[in-house]
């Protein structure tokens, strides 16, 4: 396609249009990520990677070397503190924009300046890759993509300078995310296709990052479990199916045919991806069979894509599904570049171009809506996490410092998220707190408030402790009645006595600082549940058997807001304050 022919009279240049596109997409993404907070691995980076010691910086996260990410995150937290998520949101859109810019540069050299804008729009608004595009958490993967694409561009540029840049970029990619090995494979193919003489002269471009990364992997063995991969015989056996699923997921995402008609909200169905993916494979096979020479870039992209899918397939496991949206971003971007290579060589009729434009427009539409629907999920998750962390901070020193800050299943896949309370509290003291302050928590939605209550109950170990002889109640402050249902209440010397008029009488009490003692008359057990910030009571504590007494002791902390207890019983219950 002639590049001069495509330039319409009076059109703005492609770069202003690209700028407009990227700024517009960045603004939309920035808006959609409002209200989000640290997510998943970001909490680990915040809490567990403290200091600038090489031993810390080189420690793998989920098996990945994340050196570049660590450096950027730590620098931002050092400068701006961790109280606000804004710097990370800005970083996210900046990285997304750089990634899109590099993609555009690769695309324009094949299909021209103006047509390349269309696939770039899809890349920068690729909402079906929600884990990358719809949340700053995605910044963890952008480093790999940016360095990887830059390396391909630099290698195509050629010359000594290009090779040096490519080598540095490949090292940067490997230091960002292990999946960058795929880009290394692609780069190796590009170097190999330079011919025997050039190949030998340029071998160091690949050899240097390979050696460095291999040395690192050996060094990382001393980290034990943190450096392990998920490669298993099962994954080897499932390789073909997993790679086909990855192909289908990327094809569905690229085509925009991933949503379920009649279903409101987020959906990602890859049924359409299988036949479309197979058709694309057929198209590539058809092209490779053709006698016309195949461009080195096409070979390199195919090698990168296959290596990427292979690596993912070999490392699948819980929370690592082959159609996970974070894998869709890189695979989709590479597939789009492969398609561009194929289309660049084809002479397309206007009708075909119009068809491609319509398909692309449809895909962008579906992906933008997906972005809009996915981002709030991270907003909700972020709010809950901030509630969780607020609970940790309020519990503070009263909590067992070795308890994990989040209650997660004891599985290897979330091992890096099992962060001890003391690590988190130390990081929050150093870098500032990403959690809600007590005032913010009080004004937050119910879900994070309930999360904070549950955290405090867990970390403080609040429970009903059986006591055979209750201490005499202190003079002040008394237990205060908030509500009563199905019974009558009398107050005696700071104590509240519930006399049920029928089964299931309920009493809600505001507790004094030290907690409450309960004396339950003979009969069925009485149940006790607590709340502090939430409207709803948390899961009940162990019930107090009829005819026994128990104490719910509450340690003093930095927040004055009192706890409330809900007591449900069929018989008389006496609740008295206990000394703080």
């Amino acid at each position: 396609m002639s590049r001069t022919a495509e330039k319409g009279r009076g059109w703005p240049g492609p770069i202003p249009l690209l700028g407009l596109l990227i700024v517009g997409a960045a603004a939309l993404t920035f808006w959609e990520t409002r209200g989000q907070s640290l997510y998943a691995d970001e909490v680990t980076i915040f809490s567990s990677y403290r200091g600038w010691d090489p031993g810390v910086l080189l420690r793998p996260d989920g098996g990945h070397l994340i050196l570049t990410t660590l450096l950027v995150y730590k620098t931002l937290w050092q400068i701006f503190g961790a109280e606000s998520y804004l710097p990370l949101r800005i970083l996210h859109v900046v990285l997304a924009s750089i990634s899109a810019g590099l993609f555009y540069q690769l695309a324009r050299t094949r299909i021209g300046d103006y047509p390349a804008l269309a696939p770039t729009a899809l890349v920068v608004l690729f909402g079906s890759a929600g884990e990358i595009v719809a949340t700053p958490f995605g910044s963890l993967a952008y480093g790999s993509v940016i360095f990887g694409l830059a390396a391909l561009l630099a290698l195509e540029r050629g010359g000594r300078r290009g090779d040096v840049i490519a080598c540095i970029c490949l090292i940067g990619a490997l230091a960002s995310y292990s999946i960058s090995i795929a880009f290394l494979v692609g780069a190796a193919v590009l170097v190999y296709l330079r011919g025997p003489a050039m190949r030998r002269r340029s071998a160091w471009v690949i050899a240097a990052p390979v050696l460095l990364y291999a040395a690192y992997r050996i060094y990382a063995l001393h980290y034990g479990g943190h450096g392990e991969t998920n490669i298993s015989l099962d994954n080897v056996g499932n390789l073909p199916s997993a790679m086909l699923t990855e192909l289908a997921a990327a094809a569905a995402a690229l085509s925009g045919l991933f949503r379920v008609p009649g279903q409101q909200g987020v959906s990602f169905d890859i049924s359409w991806g299988y036949p479309i993916g197979v058709a694309l494979v057929g198209l590539v096979a058809f092209r490779l069979r053709d006698r016309a020479p195949v461009s080195p870039r096409l070979w390199a992209l195919l090698a990168t894509l296959l290596a990427f899918w292979g690596l993912i397939a070999l490392n699948l496991g819980p929370l690592r599904a082959p159609d996970a949206s974070r894998y869709v971003y890189i695979a989709g971007l590479l597939m789009l570049l492969v398609l561009i290579e194929l289309l660049a060589e084809a002479r397309l009729a206007r009708l075909e171009l119009a068809g491609i434009a319509v398909l692309l427009a449809g895909s962008i539409l579906a992906n933008v809506v997906a972005l809009h629907e996915t981002a709030p999920q991270y907003r909700t998750a972020g709010r809950i996490l901030r509630g969780d962390l607020a609970g940790v901070e309020i519990a503070g020193r009263n909590a067992d410092p070795n308890l994990p800050i989040l209650e997660l299943p004891d599985e290897p896949v979330v091992r890096d998220l099992q962060i001890p309370v003391h690590d988190y509290l130390a990081a929050a003291a150093d870098l500032g707190s990403p959690a809600y302050s007590p005032d913010e928590l009080a004004a937050a939605p119910e879900t994070p408030r309930a999360a904070a209550d549950a955290q405090m109950i867990r970390l403080l170990g609040l429970h009903t402790a059986a006591e055979s002889a209750l201490p005499p109640p202190p003079a002040t402050p008394p237990v205060a009645t908030e509500a009563v249902r199905g019974g009558t209440v009398t107050v005696r010397a700071g104590c509240v006595v519930l006399e049920p008029t029928g089964p299931g009488a309920n009493l809600v009490l505001r507790l004094p600082p030290g907690g409450v003692s309960l004396r339950v008359a003979p009969g069925a057990s009485a149940s006790v549940a607590l709340r502090r910030f939430a409207d709803a009571f948390a899961a009940p504590l162990a019930p107090v058997a009829g005819g026994t007494s128990a104490v719910v002791a509450i340690p003093r902390d930095r927040v004055a807001r009192p706890w409330e207890a809900s007591i449900t019983a069929d018989q008389k219950v006496e609740a008295c304050p206990v000394p703080a």
Binding site: Q263, P275, A349
Partner: protein, 582 residues
């Protein structure tokens, strides 16, 4: 200037090779056979969904009634057809079935004309034959529910044929037919869009002077749409407000792709599920088939002769249709039966237009004809399977309506004859829910309106003797309807009890007894309990009337109604009970 791959429209028509037989007579034979098949299969059916609303809710002839949207559709033409039938023949006649078959054959005939001009007689014959028994759209071709859609399609196809005349008379006819299509059902919209594209991109010049051909119908439709916004829906069936959400917009590509896949499945008949002898619509093969169709389209563009500009109109029609489904039908998937009729016709027309100037080798033509005729078999079977379900549903509807009529004045005016989800937990599965078999409750009409319509037009319900002879499930449905209408329940006794019969049982015991016209009273001694269930037409005591606690007495009084048939009661008790006259 047209772009590469597009040429100015020609008036070319594919003529049969010399000596090749004309299949038109064979088509007439196929039509006769199809008519017989469809009339036989639709026996025992009654009205369904929209038709109940036309019967009970669209009463009178004022513009606000005739032009009131039905589920966002302007359906004045079918409403007038139904009103005429109800007035002349009543709601239980064969007239609606005859009209359905006649419309089906009309559509097939018009479709044949359009197809024949593009791909020759034999493929047109096979496609039209398939269309007549398109079981994927069983709701349309196998039930009178299809009258509205087929009226609109017949008008739309007629408009396309008229436009191909290329003269002023043809334009005038096309304009009138497009108005008719848009006034019958929203499926007329894609035909109007296609006609607009035809006028703009092809046909005789000057094109600007012909804007009214599609412009006037669309303008009138737009005016109606705006005007109708202030109207309240006539009953729950008619209420289906347009619900264009961001999610629907985002789902547009998938929904259009699904619609394409479903249309391909309908045409090929590859939607049946082996081993399941029931009406189905499996979409498993849809995506690969649709991708193959798109690949064939690309090959046609790249390898075939230049396309006539008319192809833009024939491409616009299915796209407009499927986009409308995607945007508006948030609660329906593209695989809903009623969408398959239009989808199959529009996709076949587009395919034919694409093949207009392509030389089709005799063997390929034979293969296409064979494939279409073979597809008629699973499609016809689906009509058969669907008809059986609709007959079962008709029996339930007629029994429930008989109960409403028996209850007479005592039935609450706003009681829905069949509430959503159904009143009766029937064993008969139904249809119309994304291929899933779910209970069908189609008669969402107020009982008061129903009775008023019966007074005006006659009754579609069973007579009492027909109800007596109907299957057990239908009679049980009638009992459930009577229970909803009359609400029989136990109340405290209002006076002294007489004629008491005492029963005692240490464990659970049961008594069956007829309920006399004055009712029945039950007294239970302390420590016992008794639960009363009723029946009238059914075999089982499926109507719970209440429980009498130990140490108390309650009575059941049943109001007189339109039937002299006695109620039966079953008393499940323990302890000592007395059954008395109140």
């Amino acid at each position: 200037m047209p772009g590469p791959g597009l040429t100015e429209s020609q008036t070319s028509e594919r003529l049969p090779p010399r000596g090749e037989a004309d299949p038109t007579r064979l088509l007439v034979v196929a039509m006769v056979l199809a008519a017989g098949f469809l009339l036989w299969e639709t026996r025992g059916q009654t009205m369904l969904f929209d038709e109940w609303s036309f019967f009970a809710d669209y009463r009178g002839h004022s513009p606000s009634i005739l032009l009131n949207p039905f589920g966002d559709n302007l359906e004045i033409v079918p409403i007038l057809i139904y009103k005429t039938v109800f007035a002349l023949f009543g709601p239980a006649s064969i007239a609606l079935r005859l009209i359905t078959v006649a419309l089906n054959l009309t559509c097939a005939g018009l479709f044949y004309v359009l197809m024949r001009r593009r791909v020759g007689g034999w493929i047109a014959f096979a496609a039209a034959s398939l269309l007549m028994v398109l079981g994927a759209a069983a709701d349309v071709v196998g039930a009178s529910l299809g009258i509205a859609i087929m009226t609109a399609v017949a008008c739309g196809l007629g408009a396309l044929i008229a436009l191909e005349r290329g003269d002023q008379r043809g334009d005038r006819i096309a304009c009138l037919l497009l108005i008719g299509a848009l006034a019958s059902n929203s499926i007329g919209l894609p035909f109007a869009v296609g006609a607009a594209v035809l006028v703009v991109f092809s046909g005789p010049r000057p094109r600007a002077g012909r804007w009214w051909v599609a412009g006037a119908p669309l303008l009138l439709y737009g005016i109606w749409r705006l005007w109708s916004l202030h109207l309240d829906p006539l009953g729950p069936l008619a209420a289906h407000p347009t619900d264009i959400t961001l999610a629907n917009i985002g789902t547009l590509p998938t929904s259009i792709a699904d619609s394409l896949a479903d249309a391909v499945l309908s045409i090929t008949g590859l939607y049946t599920q082996p081993g399941i002898a029931a009406r189905t619509f499996s979409t498993d093969f849809g995506p690969p088939l649709a991708v193959a169709v798109v690949a064939a389209l690309v090959l046609r563009i790249r390898r075939g002769p230049a396309l006539d500009r008319r192809v833009l109109a024939y491409a616009a029609m299915p796209l407009a249709y499927w986009a409308a489904i995607a945007l508006v039908a948030s609660d329906r998937t593209p695989s809903v039966s009623r969408y398959q009729y239009g989808g199959a016709i529009l996709l076949l027309l587009l395919s034919a237009e694409l093949a207009r100037d392509v030389r089709i080798a005799p063997r390929l033509q034979a293969a296409i004809v064979a494939a279409l005729l073979i597809s008629a078999a699973p499609n016809a079977y689906n009509i058969h399977a669907s008809s059986e379900l609709l007959r079962q549903n008709a029996r339930m509807d007629r029994a429930e309506m008989a109960a409403i009529e028996i209850a007479g004045d005592r039935v609450p005016y706003d009681l829905l004859v069949e509430p959503i989800g159904g009143r009766f937990d029937r064993s008969t599965p139904a249809l119309f829910s994304g291929g899933q078999l779910t209970p069908l409750s189609d008669a969402l009409i107020a009982a008061g309106r129903y009775r008023s319509a019966v007074a005006a037009f006659g009754s579609p319900a069973y007579s009492e003797s027909e109800l007596d002879a109907s299957p057990a499930e239908a009679r049980a449905a009638a009992d459930a309807e009577l229970a909803a209408a009359l609400g029989p329940h136990l109340v405290p006794v209002s006076g002294p009890l007489r004629d008491c019969h005492r029963r005692t049982s240490a464990g659970p015991g049961t008594i069956e007894l007829p309920v006399p016209p004055g009712g029945v009273a039950i007294r239970v001694a302390a420590g016992g309990t008794a639960t009363l269930s009723l029946r009238r037409f059914g075999d089982s005591y499926s109507i719970p009337a209440g429980t009498v606690a130990g140490g108390s007495a309650l009575e059941l009084r049943l109001p007189a109604d339109g039937s002299s048939r006695a109620w039966g009661a079953q008393l499940a008790y323990s302890g000592r009970v007395e059954v008395c006259a109140p």
